[in-house]
Amino acid sequence: MKIRPALISWLQAGPLAAILILFFGIPVLVVVVVSFFDFDHSDIVPTFILDNYQDIFTSEVTWRLYLSSLKFAAIVWAITLVLGFTLANYLVFHIRSLLLKIGLFLLCSVPFWTSTIIRMISWIPFLGRNGLFNTMLIDAHIIDKPLDFLLFSDFAVVVAYVHLFTLFMMVPIFNSMARIDARLIEAAKDAGASRWTILREIVLPLCKSGIALGSIFVVTQVMGDFFVVKVMSGGQSASVVSALQNEIAALQYPPAAASAVVLVIVVMMMVAGILRVVDVRKELAS
């Protein structure tokens, strides 16, 4: 019996589609539906109201939260990009021995052998008022009073984010760079291109997909975070998700659902923007 080609395509796509619908589509749909519901102390009241969204868009807090989250996303993105690109560039083009290359790459992932929480919290005794860093500076007579801004501040939040997310930027860029044909670079050198020109004209354009993927990882993680902000800022700063989490803790699911829907849309737009600049699919296929 001959199976029609169209049917084969359906059968091939079917299982993944079923899983996506079941574990992604339906839950998201539920969140969207609940975001239009009303609520009281502990009940969700199935009705159709726009109040949850109205509260979000008319509240000054929303704008402040998004501004703060976007600010963190932008700063962290810029720093991790520079770090990730530099590290990847060094590993790929400057380390000759493959063994050493793999070894150093693994070294970068060592911090990931412990949990995110531990990696983040270990900054606290380091940056604290009586922490290692302050003590060091005071003992070296560089300052005479501990620097308070080091911990429980936006600075501390950025430090933790950069520490946590640089690898997510580095790995995709590393991956893109490793696939650049070495002969291309040699040819450029032979043609008299400087290091800088090679970097700008060859490496950077060919790493675009890696940069785009890394950016997506970093930006979505920062936008979706509440824990790092909460702990490292000592609760002084908030993020979109931390406000959402407060609502969940108070069993106020409909407004939390509405916040989640808005956040998903915003992040989707950001990802779409990144993908518009770089056609990841084309780059990956090549």
């Binding site: 609520f39 009281d40 102390h41 502990s42 509260d55 509240s59 807090v61 402040r64 939260l65 703060s68 606290i124 005794p125 604290g128 008022r129 009586n130 922490g131 308070d148 911990l151 429980f152 909460k230 702990v231 000592g234 609760g235 002084q236 700063s237 908030a238 931390s242 406000a243 407060n246 609502e247 969940i248 803790a249 108070a250 069993l251 106020q252």
Partner: protein, 441 residues
């Protein structure tokens, strides 16, 4: 006697051709079904049955839901208690959305408000609870032992302790014959301070000190709206900045004034941090980042156990009181319901009370707990007398050296000065929103 029952089952099973295990199971199920259908009646039928297969799931916060207590209950009662530690919001949402996923709900009394009219809790007839007469009067009559009525600001144990009737539809706000839960522990909270960094134990005497410029940049507050707002209100009321009709149930205007004042303080850099879990509060204090803050009593102990002086300061405006209880879930029936009731009666019969006393919590039935404590322990924890020997925690670790006196003194010196109870306000929804404003400001 219970062992004999099990032996009988085995004996019977061996005679049959079927495997022993399957028959035992069948026998147990049969027994359960018989009780459930009402075929067997009269107390104490529960002991006549094979209760070994019964497991009750008890869920609650880590400070109350302790494995050792469940294990001891299992030993004393013959059925199993499985302790599951969950965070408060998970617990509440499980109670509302999956009420059959557990059997005993161990909650802060203020959480009862969320469960009213939801048919998830089983009312407890006072007559079935044997220790009611011995329970301290703040739970039974709403009075302190010296006859003064307990404060009414916030959700007092009386406001949340009773159903209007056996249908468990509404809270009675006065003693009735149907309990919402068996009170299981209570305490009085205040501010924690670092005496070495504020210049002595006598330097902090008022809630107002939390917002005093003296501690600018060195204060912290709990980032949990229902408690944080009360701590803030105690401070603002003490300094006269805001006045309240009822701090435990603020109007929108009162919430606004409180949040506004706190935002101003926050912007000026008064607060070093806001903490959202136990460890954070311990570390803030132990590291000296903070010298005065909202705190739970075991966190104070945890700082002290690191050899750092920390003091749960008795303040002139009084304490923020709170209590905990255990409530059986509505789905329980038959043998399991009987077991649950046995468990509730066991709970305050002394062992649990003795255990939690050594963590600094009070049991609502102190006289039973006394049998499970040494005279020295009793004198230290309940009487506020200097420790005659080194004081150990329930696990045998040193807590306080000989000669130490409990912060705040005896049970009624502390609990008798409660000014406001933990609460869920009518304007709960508005409070959450405004608290978010404050946190993000």
């Amino acid at each position: 006697m219970r062992n004999n029952d099990a032996g009988d089952n085995e004996g019977r099973a061996k005679k049959g051709a079927i495997t022993r295990r399957s028959v035992m199971k069948a026998a147990a199920i049969g027994a359960g079904a018989a009780i459930g259908s009402g075929a067997v009646s009269g107390f104490p039928t529960i002991w006549a049955q094979n209760i070994k297969d019964v497991t009750l799931v008890h869920i609650g916060g880590s400070y109350a839901c302790i494995k050792e207590i469940g294990d001891q209950a299992g030993k004393d009662l013959g059925f199993k208690i499985e302790m599951q530690v969950v965070d408060p919001s998970t617990q509440l949402s499980r109670a509302l959305t999956q009420p059959k996923s557990f059997d005993i709900n161990n909650i802060d009394n203020s959480s009862v408000v969320y469960l009213v009219g939801k048919n998830v809790l089983k009312p407890i007839p006072v007559k079935d609870y044997k220790l009611w007469d011995k329970t301290v009067p703040i739970f039974t009559t709403g009075k302190f032992p010296d006859g003064r009525p307990i404060p009414t600001q916030g959700l007092s144990p009386i406001k949340t302790g009773f159903w209007t009737g056996p249908d468990a539809k509404k809270l009675a706000d006065k003693p009735t014959d149907f309990l919402t839960m068996i009170p299981s522990l209570f305490n009085a909270d205040t501010l924690g301070i670092r005496p070495d960094l504020v210049g002595g134990r006598d330097k902090v005497t008022s809630w107002g000190d939390l917002i005093s410029p003296k501690y600018h940049g060195k204060a912290a507050l709990v980032d949990y709206a229902p408690v944080g707002i009360i701590d803030a209100a105690m401070a603002l009321e003490a300094t006269g900045q805001v006045t309240y009709v009822d701090k435990g149930n603020m109007t929108k205007a009162e919430i606004d004034k409180t949040v506004k004042a706190m935002e101003d303080l926050k912007k000026s850099g008064h607060f070093r941090s806001f903490w959202s879990n136990f460890d954070q509060s311990v570390n803030l204090m132990a590291s000296g980042e903070v010298v005065i803050q909202s705190m739970w009593s075991p966190a104070v102990t945890a700082v002290r156990s690191r050899g750092i002086d920390c003091y749960f300061a008795p303040l002139k405006e009084g304490y923020r009181g709170w209590s905990n209880g255990i409530a059986p879930m509505a789905h329980l029936s038959g043998l399991r319901e009987d077991c649950a009731m046995e468990y509730l009666n066991w709970y305050n019969s002394g062992w649990q009370g003795g255990f939690i006393a050594k963590q600094g919590y009070y049991t609502p039935v102190p006289e039973t707990a006394r049998n499970f404590m040494t005279a020295d322990e009793w004198n230290y924890w309940y009487e506020g007398k200097p420790a005659a020997v080194d004081i150990k925690d329930p696990y045998g670790n040193l807590m306080e050296k000989k000669g130490a006196v409990r912060d705040g003194g005896s049970l009624w010196e502390r609990e008798g000065h409660v000014a406001v109870w933990n609460t869920v306000m009518d304007e709960d929804r508005y409070l959450t929103r405004r608290w978010n404003d404050f946190v993000s400001s």
